[in-house]
Amino acid sequence: MEDPWGTALALFQVWISVLLCLVMLPAMFGLSLGVTGVYIQILVQILEWATLRIQRGRKEKTSVPIPLPNGIIHRDGGSMAQEMLEVRGSRPGGDFTLGDVFYFYKKGMESLVDDQVTQCFSSEELASWNLLTRTNQNFRYISLRLTVIWGVGVFVRYCLLFPLRITLATISFTWLVISTTLVGFLPETSAKHWLSEVAHLMFYRICARGLSATIRYHNKCNRPKKGGICVANHTTPIDIIILANDRCYAMVGQVHGGLMGVIQRSMVRSCPHVWFERTEMKDRNTVTNRLREHVTCEDKLPILIFPEGTCINNTSVMMFKKGSFEIGGTIYPVAIKYDPRFGDAFWNSAKYNMVSYLLRTMTSWAIVVNVWYLPPMTRLEDASQFAQRVKSAIALKGGLIDMAWDGGLKRARVKDSLKEEQQKMYSSMIRKTNSQLIPDLSPNSLLTLDVDIGLIY
């Protein structure tokens, strides 16, 4: 009876020490053994083969439906004024006709079938299957070989990668709590700051290894500096790990209880993060002032803020809340783009809670992400226009769609004022006796739902 336990213990010890040597030590020095790189290359080969196989299969069996990456319908781009003119034909003046309603009905039906906003809150659809069951929307049985590869993939992901990742995650969190608490005991010297940075960086690096993350940083010369504010588009809580692998940031967030609370308290012992109580969060001025205080202190770490306020599915960038742009200081925009072939990074918080999201991420293939550091920007205009400017720059760099809609629409209803704008525009068309072409109001003038800072966890 002793023997099985003995061997199990011995195996466990070997396992842990292997991990320690191969993962933790390199993480301390920021080196990599290249294992993840090789893994990604093999994966790419397999996925490309799978894509070709599926395409061949589709040609042979024409009954299999093809996913449409361009949407279900083709929208005509006509403005309200143009459409009304066409309906009214040669009638004199710009008066109401019974056919005016057609414009609204058609637009309404089009948005019912395919709208820009709701699709931002669900996972991106892939052009070709990536051998994960969860992304299997419209793909049917193609061949035996494909099914076998998929089966092997399931085994690899659930039985090999998943336990490895869980172990690494546990190690990293334990490391963080212990190391930051220890560093917290030191007096305030530059050595303390350096040690705190090392401790934090190690934590994030182990986490990144744990997710088989391959991160490519571009334009490192534009990396955020101390005393600035870093803004980025938001897809998942893992964004924080991705960004913090390169340098340390001061986190902004709500004080939580439980495990998160323990982590927050230990982190703040070694370097100043900004944690708010629930009650403080409601007062915009308190929040802005505290952040401003932090930013004006030149040798404090840059703050990390996600101005969208919620997770978006990494195909577009939604409206940036102007609160973060009123604090002052230099803004360092960062664009983050995940490669969807290796796993869906988007956290659909309406559908999955944090734990099931983490489990799904840990059983995906990997996380491959490109991070672009953009040149710093300062405010020259009013806050909402500045926010728009930063957002467009990020969208352009990351190859994302620049959307003016508010990310808060994930949970809240759209404001009535937008409907009123449409009504106003139409009224001006029937009040005038001569119909003139009025430029269509794009949603760029939309009012915000809640004018606050952005994402505070």
């Binding site: 019974l98 309404g108 709208d115 709701t118």
Partner: protein, 195 residues
Amino acid sequence: MGSRASTLLREEEIEEIKKETGFSHSQITRLYSRFSSLDKGENGTLSREDFQRIPELAINPLGDRIINAFFPESEDQVNFRGFMRTLAHFRPIEDNEKNKDHTASEPLNSRTNKLLFAFRLYDLDRDDKISRDELLQVLRMMVGVNISDEQLGSIADRTIQEADQNGDSSISFNEFIKVLEKVDVEQKMSIRFLH
């Protein structure tokens, strides 16, 4: 390894919907994924709230009327068949359908049926007449608070005067068709579905 969405939609159902509405197989499966993504409660039917959740539809001045068109008298849920039947009105008229003889029942997306759909959005009480009040209601929805009651009233009166031929101060369906005979209804009330 079948696709999740269409395993819930049987082949026979797809065939029936195809016959009834004229949509193609792939269009029906695409629209079924859309239906499922709107169905947050995952019970196979949509309620008015599910439609209201679409921001672009919620800000449409006639959004409520459009949503109501999906729900037959006093029901609160619409299933996929009903959804498709209503959407079928907006399918474009294909060339090979234009010259069909009408021995079979008229397709849902014929010009007459499109006009009937629009007529029913005005005529809430289903008495086959658009009364002055019903017209005023729709006008009020479209202009909001920007036009006074008197002005709106005179617009309604003028519209009825021009359309009314039998002098009953309301617009019947035939009078409605006559007013819109020069309008390209096929294009205005059609959505271009991709194949």
